[in-house]
């Protein structure tokens, strides 16, 4: 279920770093499908999902690890991409968070093998 952008082989070698953006999204399990569709539509080539995470937010504390409920748990996505892709994802999530609980964080990041993250370079 994960298609992780990860890379470890190049450690120790001389390599160039490329600047990209990273987005982290935390939503309720019932919105998992929506975020997946959104990421695909915005051209994310891959993403990571963490299910059943716990935390405290404005709505109170939320405990993960629910055996018999895949909807109420929290799900975290993170993925890396260029500015355009991240903007697209943010555009879709902004209205969502007006109504449903959830958060997103965008930050600068650097990756080694650019072609793993950008479709155009394949």
């Amino acid at each position: 279920m994960t298609d992780q952008p990860q890379d470890t082989e190049t450690t120790g070698k001389k390599h160039r770093l490329h600047s990209l953006k990273k987005i982290e999204i935390i939503v309720r399990g019932e919105k998992e499908k929506f975020v997946q569709d959104l990421l695909e539509e915005c051209g994310a080539t891959g993403y990571t999902i963490h299910r059943d995470i716990a935390g405290r937010g404005s709505h109170g504390f939320h405990e993960g690890r629910l055996l018999f409920n895949d909807r109420a748990g929290l799900v975290m996505f993170f993925t890396v991409g260029d500015e355009e892709m991240i903007d697209c994802v943010m555009d879709g999530l902004t209205p969502l968070f007006e109504k449903s609980s959830g958060v997103m964080f965008v930050s600068e990041t650097q990756v080694v093998r650019l072609e793993k993250f950008l479709e155009e370079d394949e």
Partner: protein, 809 residues
């Protein structure tokens, strides 16, 4: 104008919250029709939904009146509730003053739009009824409609396909031209809520569980809206009719008269239940731990189990437990397919759980002979069905076919109508001569040696996960010490012919399927020595001589079938014989009780009457399903044993003493209780407004596309339960529309801890969707009532100080 597609997606997602998903009839799942409003207080939610769908949110005045006349509303409680709510009325006056529902007969402005949409949606959402389905469906709803629209005379201004926007996005760009983004959601909500049946089905498909049909006919809410807004534009209709209900405001008065009377009715029931639960003589003096029971049976928490459990326990040294009917196995079930065929795959776990494993039925070693006999029969039966189907539909062959087959249909019609008992006997003897797949198959609990990499769901269970599921079962039920020689996991299913709503009578925890397969999986797991060893190291000691069996409770006839090979029984044949005899005796007791609730005639042989109902093709009330449900009791069986709960309570076994961390209780509350709330709310709303939230009378139902029912000639799909599942007749409900009352046998601190870390759950209680009380075992089972906001108050009327006893933690 340009539109960001992702913004559009977000707005549609928000707007879609108003309409709950609708499952196809084959796997009817209970759902709160107002699930999208659950983040609001109950009273506000019914008002808003009432505006949007023009539905009633509270029982009708005559329903209240009948409850009052039956004595189901305590005058004192009603008086107190009225006073507290600031209504200066005595109970009788309050009942007279209940407002009648003002239905708005005015024709909506977009009827034409609704008709065009429902015509194409019905054609698109056809899962195999029409021989010639809508062309190009696999291109999606918008694209396939776009090809057909120029030939559809109902829409002006389209002569050819190029007159229409070429993509969904273009359709939105054209129609939303100049409309500010803030208004989109209101517009979308209006158009989605206009046809809640079809839109609910689109939302179901959006959950990604449509299987092969997903690819055959992809559809999204975006596609629906693109077509609908385009048609609206071409018809010259406004995007938002002037009379469209404003989604914004709601009457701030939460203490309306119907709300108060409803609360009084609920309180009456709840107080009586608590009185029963706390009445000392009803409890057995000992915990029953001194003698080992002959057998222990685990039933689904379903309210129907309670009746049979009670009758069985009265007959001998039996213990029963309650556990979610999918037995904790999040699986997809693949039924046995004769020959080289592929079995039907259905999800067999609750709507809030995703399946993680596929469990198939395969011929058990040594049973090849029986399988072959069955295959031969199934081959001929399949051919017969195919022949009938294809001959009926063929343009030229149908005429000769009718002449050849008409006589046989006449005979069959007479038999089925006049001799339903014989039909039941016939089916039974067929099963005896030719046992079904459950007699010669085993369930694939083990991982195959070479896993199929193409399959999204892995076949079988890994050794580790088996232990997890077995342990979860016993931990949740709080069952760690005593095991009888025979332990039966009993799933349940219904038996009813000619009934589009059959799956609504099956196990709700198995997504509207019979629970037998799940029971077989858990029994198979628990019989594995490796699993037992692992359980032993975790404090669950299952003796060597304990054997786990699987069975299925037929809720229509109350017959329990045990999946046992009688030629080589794994347990003492004498004990098995005794168990079967007692199950048969319990069955007679249970059917007598159930039949009397369906028909006030005296039945000499109630069991026979249930058999008729199970086979009679003209029967619209084969059984009451979960009608009557009003309480959810979590605790050990000794709390409720010997009590007649009249089939109205979900019973989940739980022992607070072996759940120090509260994990088991947390799992019960976030899983089974939430499903119980969905079921309860479906029964509630289907009863209070059977037209808007239910599916109306069965006598005018018309099954559309094998997925849903429409009333009469068509239009929007009906959602929810049919009248006959809830009402004695056209006017008097059998189901009392009461919100669920959860009673937990657990210490207050533990419950508070769970509520504080599960805010979604807490909100259900805070907002009045479910009421909560605890019997605190650390306080001598004192009953405390949860108050919205987080405080607790004593339940009993005698000690009713207005102030909360415990402050918010």
């Amino acid at each position: 104008m340009s539109i960001e597609i992702s913004v559009l997606r977000g707005r549609i997602e928000n707007a879609a919250e108003a309409v709950g998903p609708l499952w196809p009839l084959r796997t009817f799942n209970s759902a709160n029709p107002l699930s999208g409003f659950e983040s609001l207080p109950f009273h506000e939610a019914v008002q808003r939904a009432g505006h949007l769908f023009r539905g009633r949110g509270y029982p009708a005045p005559d329903v209240f009146r009948r409850a009052w006349e039956r004595g189901d509303i305590d005058p004192e409680i009603l008086q107190r509730q009225l006073r507290d709510a600031g209504h200066d009325l005595d109970p009788a006056a309050a009942l007279d003053a209940l407002p009648r529902h003002d239905s708005s007969p005015a024709e909506a402005e977009d009827e034409r739009l609704n008709r065009i949409m429902s015509k194409w949606l019905a054609a698109f959402f056809d899962h195999g009824q029409a021989a010639w389905p809508m062309p190009n469906r696999s291109d999606g709803f918008f694209a396939s409609w776009r090809i057909l629209a120029p030939f559809d005379r109902g829409i002006p201004g389209i002569r050819q396909t190029s007159d229409l926007p070429s993509t969904k996005l273009d359709a939105f760009i054209e129609t939303l031209d100049g409309v500010p983004e803030e208004e989109w959601e209101t517009i979308f909500t209006h158009h989605l809520a206009a046809l809640p049946g079809w839109v609910g089905l689109i939302r179901w498909q959006g959950r990604g569980t449509a299987g092969e049909w997903e690819k055959a006919k992809p559809i999204t809410l975006g596609g629906y809206l693109a077509v609908r807004l385009t048609v609206a534009r071409l018809l010259g209709e406004p995007l938002l009719p002037k009379d469209a209900p404003a989604n914004g405001e709601a009457n701030p008065d939460t203490q309306t008269l119907p709300a108060v009377v409803l609360a009084a009715w609920e309180e009456t029931y709840r107080h009586r239940l608590i009185d029963d639960l706390t009445e000392p003589p009803s409890r057995p003096s000992v915990d029953g731990t001194d003698t080992r029971p002959d057998a222990q049976l685990v039933f689904c928490i379903d309210v129907r189990s309670e009746i049979l459990r009670r009758h069985l326990e009265g007959l001998g040294p039996y213990e029963t437990h309650g556990y979610a009917g999918f037995f904790g196995i999040p699986m997809e079930h693949e039924s046995y397919a004769p020959g080289a065929g592929v079995g039907e795959r259905v999800k067999a776990c609750p709507p809030i759980v995703d399946p993680r494993h596929r469990i198939a039925e395969r011929v058990a070693p040594g049973c090849e002979h029986e399988a072959e006999a069955y295959n031969d029969w199934a081959g001929i039966e399949g051919t017969r069905r195919t022949l009938l189907k294809t001959l009926k539909k063929d343009v030229a062959a149908a005429f000769g076919f009718v002449e050849g087959s008409g006589g046989f249909y006449g005979i069959a019609m007479a038999l089925r109508t006049l001799l339903p008992h014989r039909v039941f006997d016939g089916l039974k003897s067929l099963r005896e001569h030719l046992p079904g797949p459950s007699s010669f198959t085993e369930v694939t609990v083990d991982r195959p040696d070479t896993p199929d990499p193409d399959d999204a769901l892995p076949l079988g269970l890994s050794p580790e996960v088996k232990i997890v599921y077995a342990e979860a079962a016993f931990r949740l039920m709080g069952w760690t010490d005593e095991f009888a020689p025979i332990v039966v996991f009993t799933g349940h299913g219904s038996q009813t012919p000619n009934n589009p709503f059959k799956s609504s009578l099956d196990c709700g925890a198995c997504a509207g399927n019979p629970g037998g397969p799940n029971a077989r999986v858990l029994a198979a797991i628990c019989n594995e020595p490796a699993v037992r060893d692992a359980l032993r190291s975790r404090g669950i000691h299952i003796p060597e001589d304990t054997v786990f069996l699987a069975g299925q409770h037929n809720t229509t006839t109350d017959e329990v079938t045990l999946f046992v090979d009688d030629e080589d029984p794994p347990v003492d044949p004498g004990a098995l014989e005794r168990l079967r005899d007692d199950l048969a005796a319990a069955r007679n007791g249970a059917t007598a009780e159930r039949v009397s609730s369906m028909d006030d005639r005296m039945w000499a042989d109630a069991t026979r009457e249930t058999e008729r109902r199970a086979a009679d093709w003209s029967e619209t009330r084969p059984e009451w399903g979960l009608a009557g449900n009003a309480a959810f009791i979590v605790g050990p069986r000794r709390l409720t044993r010997n009590l007649d709960l009249r089939g109205r309570s979900f019973l989940h076994s739980y022992d607070w003493r072996v759940d120090d961390s509260g994990t088991a209780l947390e799992t019960i509350l976030t899983g089974p209780l939430v499903v119980g709330e969905w079921i309860n709310m479906q029964y509630y709303f289907s009863t209070v407004d059977n037209a808007v939230y239910g599916s109306g009378s069965k006598v005018t139902h018309n099954v559309s596309g094998k997925v849903g029912v429409v009333q009469g000639n068509g239009g929007d799909l009906m959602t929810g339960l049919p009248l006959q599942s809830l009402y004695m007749d056209d006017e008097v409900p059998f189901h009392d529309p009461l919100r669920l009352f959860a009673v937990l046998h657990a210490p207050v601190e533990r419950v508070e801890m769970i509520l504080n870390r599960q805010d979604t759950l807490k909100r259900l209680f805070d907002h009045g969707w479910v009421a909560l009380a605890i019997m605190d075992p650390e306080e001598n089972d004192r009953v405390m009532r949860y108050q919205p906001g987080g405080s607790w108050a004593p339940m009993s009327v005698d000690e009713q100080p207005a102030a909360a006893v415990l402050p918010d933690a």
